[in-house]
């Protein structure tokens, strides 16, 4: 009896293995599925029916979240789609979602997967991917691959560049609205990490608020993660319970905005215009947002033309890399007028965000009267300005 079983299972296994083996030849182990195939996490290359004569440049994106996270990654992905649309069948965008950005192995694994699928350009869109990718670029084993990193500072002479933008500009503008519309003079700020990038944003918002309301204070809660929907929301709820009546954020999902709406308070989002999101109609003010395609389209075009050189690109409101999402009906006319006035000055290039005198929250003068900070100086920020308190 037992013998029969063993034989039966063996036969089934052999058949199964044969099926797998026989299929191997036609299994799509080779990259570049045709237009009729189901391109994985990839955009349809071009709208035309016929296959193109030249191979498209395969651009691989590494995302920290999902492409419908309602915030950071979704905004990154909109830029990816804009790139795909702008360059049509000259480029094929592929991507990997939910990649851990706290260790290099995850980033390198993802990059190698993308390269395995034919990518010759790898773009890491979270700060934590930077070192892992840079290691690959410097190893000499990937000289034919071009790497771009969003929000980091690594760069080399041949195949690694970075790009970012002056998010402090729209942050400052959103601070003006917060400062004019808070009644309790307490603005809540859900923040990811206590690092330079986040501190610049907090300071810009606080300075904007204080420019119109000297009594405005900002309370910050750090959640030590870029992407954690539950914690982002919980942090906002804590701030609301402390009397904050405008919630701003530097984290990836709309959690804090939903918390503000539920409490009947106001919210300033980040990354993506969520004014149409269910439930936010009466609470959402605006959001500082990204348009990474402002850099990606010319950069990838240059790669196709063979003229790309690594650079450290820093966009701003004038070139459109960063923007303030359209103000909703919840923004008062006075705030709107003030924002429009300052926005025009920023775009004209004669409104530095960080202009002395600026004091940190310990009372030290960090920017002297009459002094302004340029990009390099802004990116040495390691303090929070007067009127800001932070909790871990």
């Amino acid at each position: 009896m037992k013998k029969i079983w063993i034989v039966a299972v063996a036969v089934i296994l052999v058949i199964a293995l044969a099926a797998c083996g026989g299929n191997k030849g036609s299994a799509p182990s080779a990259p570049a599925p045709g237009p009729g195939g189901s391109p994985g996490n990839s955009a349809p290359a071009g709208g035309g029916g016929g296959p193109s004569t030249t191979q498209p440049l395969v651009v691989g994106f590494i995302y920290i979240g999902t492409i419908n996270d309602g915030g950071y990654t979704q905004s990154q992905h909109q830029a990816t789609m804009a790139l795909q649309k702008a360059l049509g069948d000259k480029v094929k965008c592929i991507w990997l979602e939910n990649i851990d950005d706290t260790n290099s192995q995850a980033a390198q694994d993802a990059a190698k997967q993308l390269i395995d699928q034919g990518a010759t350009v790898v773009i890491g869109t979270s700060f934590g991917f930077g070192d892992g990718l840079f290691q690959m670029a410097q190893s000499g084993n990937y000289n034919n691959i071009k790497f771009l990193h969003f929000s980091g500072s690594n760069i080399n002479d041949t195949n690694f560049g970075n790009y970012f933008g002056a998010m402090e500009e729209p942050r400052y503008l959103s601070g003006i609205i917060a400062g004019m519309q808070t009644k309790s003079n307490k603005i809540g700020y859900v923040a990811a990490y206590p690092n330079t990038e986040v501190q610049i944003g907090i300071n810009a918002l606080a300075l904007g608020a204080q420019s119109v309301n000297p009594n405005a204070t900002v309370s910050v809660v750090y959640i030590n993660s870029w992407y954690d929907p539950a914690q982002e929301k919980a942090a906002a709820e804590a701030l609301l319970s402390q009397g904050c009546d405008v919630i701003a954020q530097h984290s990836d999902t709309p959690g804090p905005m939903l918390a503000a709406a539920a409490a009947g308070k106001l919210g300033i989002g980040y990354d993506l215009d969520n004014s149409q999101l269910d439930g936010l109609q009466d609470s959402y003010l605006t959001a500082p947002i990204w348009h990474q395609e402002t850099y990606l389209i010319p950069a990838v075009t240059a790669m196709i033309n063979g003229t790309w050189k690594p650079e450290s690109y820093y966009g701003n409101m004038a070139d459109g890399m960063v923007a303030l999402a359209p103000l909703t009906k919840n923004v008062t006319p006075e705030a709107k007028a003030k924002v429009e006035q300052v926005e025009a000055q920023i775009k004209a290039g004669n409104f530095p965000i960080f202009k002395g005198p600026i004091y940190d929250n310990q009372g030290n003068e960090v920017v002297k009267d009459g002094q302004t900070l340029d990009r390099a100086a802004i990116w040495t920020t390691n303090y929070l300005v007067k009127g800001v308190t932070a909790a871990q």
Partner: protein, 370 residues
């Protein structure tokens, strides 16, 4: 409740029967995950074939599979030593982190030392770091009989938070423009590549052999096994149980600490709070599947790494959502782990009538009361 079958512990399973159960479980897993894949409109045979080609189909894919297998195997060896003693060491993550911390401390302060001196120093530090971290719950267990499962689990979070603190505080790289990262090691502290793969694979193979010999051919290894089988027997035989627990956990933690050194040195080139990547937890599964045998562990870990790499690969290659890849992984694991139950226990069909009779404690007609 009265069930028409009886579950009894097996004494021993003949080899061919064990193989049969395992093969059956794999076949069932493939069939069920095939149904799930069909449900999502995917061709299961194509998906399974692509998992294999995705993990072994090119030099780079094999390399990626092995890069995952190395830390997993070494971590599993560490877990094995503890589990053999029935000491449930769930603290692998923390021991990996503390090993990485100690190795990084050596690397960051002695970057000028030549590799042949620096790397062994880092390894020793890592073994001490992980070993000491495992020794703490072992001491409490040996002296006060605390529950090691909870204790080791909680130690994970302390270790991870400690490294996070270093990363954001005292060890933060001042040259990183405020970004919270620890400086990269000097080139001397990076494990070299041997045949296209970081030298961790050599460490892995040596350790597999060493742990196999230790557990099967040394007095200490035998004592650990006895303590695991029966505390009373160990005591009766005059063994110093406390000392055995401490030694075994030092070895277990030391091996896990070494994983931290390998990952910090070869992969991350620095210390980061995400370094352990869950290997300390995954190793619990692989160790269990390998039935606490060091040689088997190597092969189980290789297979598991194939599954991890293949699951990554199909996401991009076949447009399989990451959640579906996770389901397939989960089903295969469920069945293979489930087969373990049938290897350890015998399920005997006895019919409802007999089950009722046995429940009532009545003697059976025909008397089959063994």
């Amino acid at each position: 409740m009265i069930l028409p079958f009886k579950i009894a512990k097996r004494d021993d399973v003949p080899k061919n029967k064990a193989a049969l159960i395992l093969i059956l479980s794999i076949v069932l897993a493939l069939v069920l995950s095939g149904v799930v894949l069909l449900f999502f409109g995917l061709n299961p045979i194509k998906v399974f074939g692509t998992i294999v080609t995705g993990s072994l189909g090119s030099a780079m894919r094999i390399q990626q599979t092995l890069i995952k297998a190395i830390p997993l195997t070494i971590a599993s060896l560490g877990i094995l030593v503890a589990f053999k003693m029935k000491f449930w060491n769930i603290g692998g993550e923390g021991q990996i982190m503390m090993g990485a911390f100690a190795a990084s401390w050596v690397a960051l302060n002695n970057g000028d030392l030549p590799s042949p001196i620096l790397l062994p120093l880092m390894a020793v530090a890592a073994i001490v770091g992980g070993g000491v971290w495992a020794l703490i719950p072992a001491l409490f267990k040996a002296r006060m009989g605390t529950n090691e499962t909870i204790f080791t689990l909680m130690m994970n979070y302390i270790a991870i938070k400690f490294v996070t603190y270093l990363q954001y505080g005292p060890w933060k790289d001042p040259a990183a423009k405020g970004f919270p990262k620890i400086p990269a090691f000097s080139g001397n502290a990076v494990l070299p590549n041997v045949f296209g793969l970081h030298a961790g694979w050599i460490i892995m193979i040596i350790l597999v052999a060493a742990v196999f010999l230790f557990m099967n051919y040394t007095k200490k290894g035998y004592e650990i096994t006895v303590v695991g089988e029966s505390l009373d027997t160990a005591r009766y035989a005059g063994m110093n149980v406390s000392a055995i627990i401490l030694v075994a956990m030092s070895i277990s933690g030391g091996l896990l600490g070494l994983v931290g050194m390998v990952q910090a040195s070869a992969i991350e080139h620095t210390l980061t709070w995400g370094l352990s990547s869950g290997y300390g937890f995954t190793a619990i599964i692989t160790t269990w599947l390998a039935r606490l045998n060091a040689i088997t562990t190597l092969f189980v870990c290789l297979a598991f790494a194939m599954l991890l790499q293949g699951a990554d690969y199909i996401q991009l290659a076949l447009n399989v959502p990451s959640s579906v890849a996770g389901i397939v992984e989960g089903i295969i694991l469920f069945f293979v782990l489930g087969s373990d139950f049938f290897l350890r226990y015998r399920v005997q069909w006895i019919g409802l009538a007999r089950a009722r009779a046995e429940a009532d404690g009545l003697p059976l007609r025909g008397g089959a009361a063994e």
